[in-house]
């Protein structure tokens, strides 16, 4: 993995890395990828992917309102909230 690729991934993950950090992570990620390459030793043609260990499917319930919203309580941990809204830097010019 090149530094530029690490920076691209960091951007996808919304992380900002210095070039020094990116170099360090590139080395570490390459080591981890080497470990991951071992997966290719095993043929998996025709094997159904498993996303849930019990092969469970999404349970459904009646479409009825059962929860209450306590906005004041839920927003009490917000970095910046006002009038029921979370405040962030301006998005639209």
């Amino acid at each position: 993995m090149e530094i530029s690729e690490v920076q691209k991934i960091a951007h996808l993950a919304r992380l900002s890395l210095s070039d020094d950090d990116a170099t360090r992570y590139a080395g570490e990620l390459n080591n981890i990828l080497e470990l991951v390459e071992r997966m290719n030793a095993r043929d998996t043609d025709g094997i159904r992917p498993m996303s849930n260990p019990l092969d469970a499917t999404q349970g459904l319930r009646a479409d009825e309102v059962t929860e209450t919203i306590d906005r004041e309580l839920f927003q009490s941990s917000a970095p910046l909230a006002e009038g029921g809204l979370y405040l962030v830097p301006k998005v639209i010019d």
Partner: protein, 492 residues
């Protein structure tokens, strides 16, 4: 008092030998004396605990005690949301986060009158095997403070071993209950996937995470599991499979039980002292009436890479919610939304978390999804089927929990690959969603605990606890306690 079983403490409360308030004060004093050294507890909730203990005493005085856990002190891993008390997940990102609600695990234990003493230290967002990746500093192993307690539930394991509480909660995604239990000489159970509600349990890898219990014996794990197990409509991955009374069959005979020992587990990578303990455990279980059988799990070599691809991919998705907008750390003076996201996340997350997010992002990115995540999901099915096949031949599997006893602090913190490889015996179990526990099975020559692992088929927690209990009736490893006198500070 802190080495007594839950049943013994419950009896003591019942007979008036001591009050819940006295019991609470005793354990709070233990935390006070040893936490500066062990750093197992991030937040102590002394005031709330004493209030809860008083409420327990009041109930008992009115003949209205809630059951065996009423007044029994516990600690919660700091990954479980606790209303009004900060939930940090061992991270700067949530260092001041106060949840508006209780996790189901927290709620259910509270409903049974158990007294929460505080929140325990952990690897950040449950990512790690040594509790060295915590914003709040490493937790230490009470048997030798130069060694790690394991991770990610290192604080909970260390706390139970050191007598900070009668039991503690933990979570296990790739071994994070079982491995610290082995390193700290306590009993730790990871239930079947879906057995314990994940509502309010901050997510690391949603198809792997499971909440569980640390205690000093299987007999003590049982009442705690009874409290937390069972369907929860607020967790969409929660199972409707009926629960057992996990204490009811502890003393069941082992005759007729077939226990498998896995050939592939005994390789060069396994420390000989650990191997000896597992073989000794097999002999003990044979004496108890079980039949020990050699079996093969052919897919063993694939488990670590498969686990890490799936876990890291799911982690990258789960941790994308931490963006500085609605909760958690927000960077100062963000210049744009993009800047707010990037700096909040870069400042809030530690190195190991960032490494895992990036690898997970890579594994899911366009052009790589099939080669990594898709492939891993196929291997997951092969690994799961491997276990299913084994369970047509045996009822349980006996295995090592870890390749070696607890590492020294600093030994693996900068060596992620070798740290990951040490999950070899535990992570496959999470891929297959199986229940498993680690129980103390001996000590190394240097005095560090060694654990043995019992793995069951889905929803066989009763059986696991039964076999562990039979083992603990015939051995004394679980009765050993670390000598904390060397570093305990007795306040005057």
């Amino acid at each position: 008092m802190h080495n007594r079983t839950i049943a013994s403490l419950a009896t003591g409360l019942q007979t008036g030998e001591f009050s819940a308030t006295e019991l609470c004060r005793h354990f709070l004093a233990r935390i006070d004396a040893c936490n500066d050294t062990l750093n197992c507890v991030i937040t102590t909730t002394a005031e709330g605990a004493l209030e809860a203990a008083q409420a327990s005493d009041d109930r008992r005085a009115n003949n209205a005690a809630l059951g065996e856990l009423d007044g029994i002190p516990l600690l919660h891993k700091d990954v479980f949301c606790t209303a009004g008390v900060r939930t940090t997940c061992g991270s700067k990102m949530l260092a001041n986060f106060v949840s508006p609600y209780d996790a189901t695990v927290v709620e259910r234990l509270h409903q049974r009158g158990a007294v929460m003493l505080g929140k325990t230290n952990m690897d950040e967002f449950a990512m790690g095997s040594t509790n060295e990746h915590s914003y709040f500093g490493p937790a230490r192993n009470p048997w030798n403070t130069e060694h790690v307690p394991g991770g990610s539930s290192g604080g909970s394991a260390s706390a139970v071993a050191a007598g900070f509480a009668a039991f503690a909660t933990g979570t296990d995604t790739g071994g994070s209950i079982r491995q610290p239990a082995a390193f700290c000489g306590v009993t730790g159970l990871k239930p079947t996937y879906g057995r314990v509600s994940r509502y309010g349990m901050v997510a690391f890898a949603s198809s792997l995470d499971q909440g569980g219990v640390f205690a000093r014996s299987a007999a003590d794990v049982a009442p705690a599991l009874n409290a937390i197990a069972g369907f929860d409509p607020r967790d969409s991955s929660s199972s409707q499979h009926p629960t057992d009374d996990y204490a009811a069959n502890l003393a069941q005979d082992l005759r007729g039980l077939r226990i498998g020992v896995v050939r592939e587990h005994f390789s060069d990578g396994l420390d000989s002292e650990v191997a000896d303990c597992v073989h000794a455990a097999a002999a003990t279980l044979r004496e108890a009436g079980a039949t020990l059988v050699n079996i093969s799990l052919n897919e063993t070599a694939l488990t670590v890479p498969t686990y890490y691809v799936i876990a890291l991919a799911e982690a990258s998705s789960n941790l994308s919610r931490f963006d500085g907008a609605r909760y958690g750390h927000r960077a100062d003076n963000p210049q744009s939304l993009e800047d707010m996201y990037e700096r909040s996340r870069s400042e809030g997350f530690g190195d190991e978390v960032k490494r895992r997010i990036m690898l997970g992002t890579y594994a899911l990115s366009a052009g790589y999804y099939d080669a990594y995540y898709g492939k891993a999901q196929q291997l997951r099915r092969l690994i799961t089927e491997d276990f299913a096949r084994a369970f047509t031949d045996v009822d349980l599997i006996l295995a090592p929990t870890t390749p070696a006893p607890a590492f020294r602090l600093g030994e693996l913190v900068d060596d992620p690959v070798n740290m990951y490889l040490s999950d070899i015996y535990t992570c496959a179990i999470n891929l297959a969603g199986l229940p498993a526990l680690s129980m103390p099975a001996g000590q190394s020559a240097s005095g560090l605990p060694i654990g043995a692992q019992l793995i069951g088929a889905h929803f066989q927690e009763s059986r696991l606890l039964n076999v562990a209990h039979a083992f603990q009736c015939r051995t004394q490893h679980h009765l050993a306690a670390p000598d904390t006198g060397a570093y305990a500070e007795i306040s005057r």
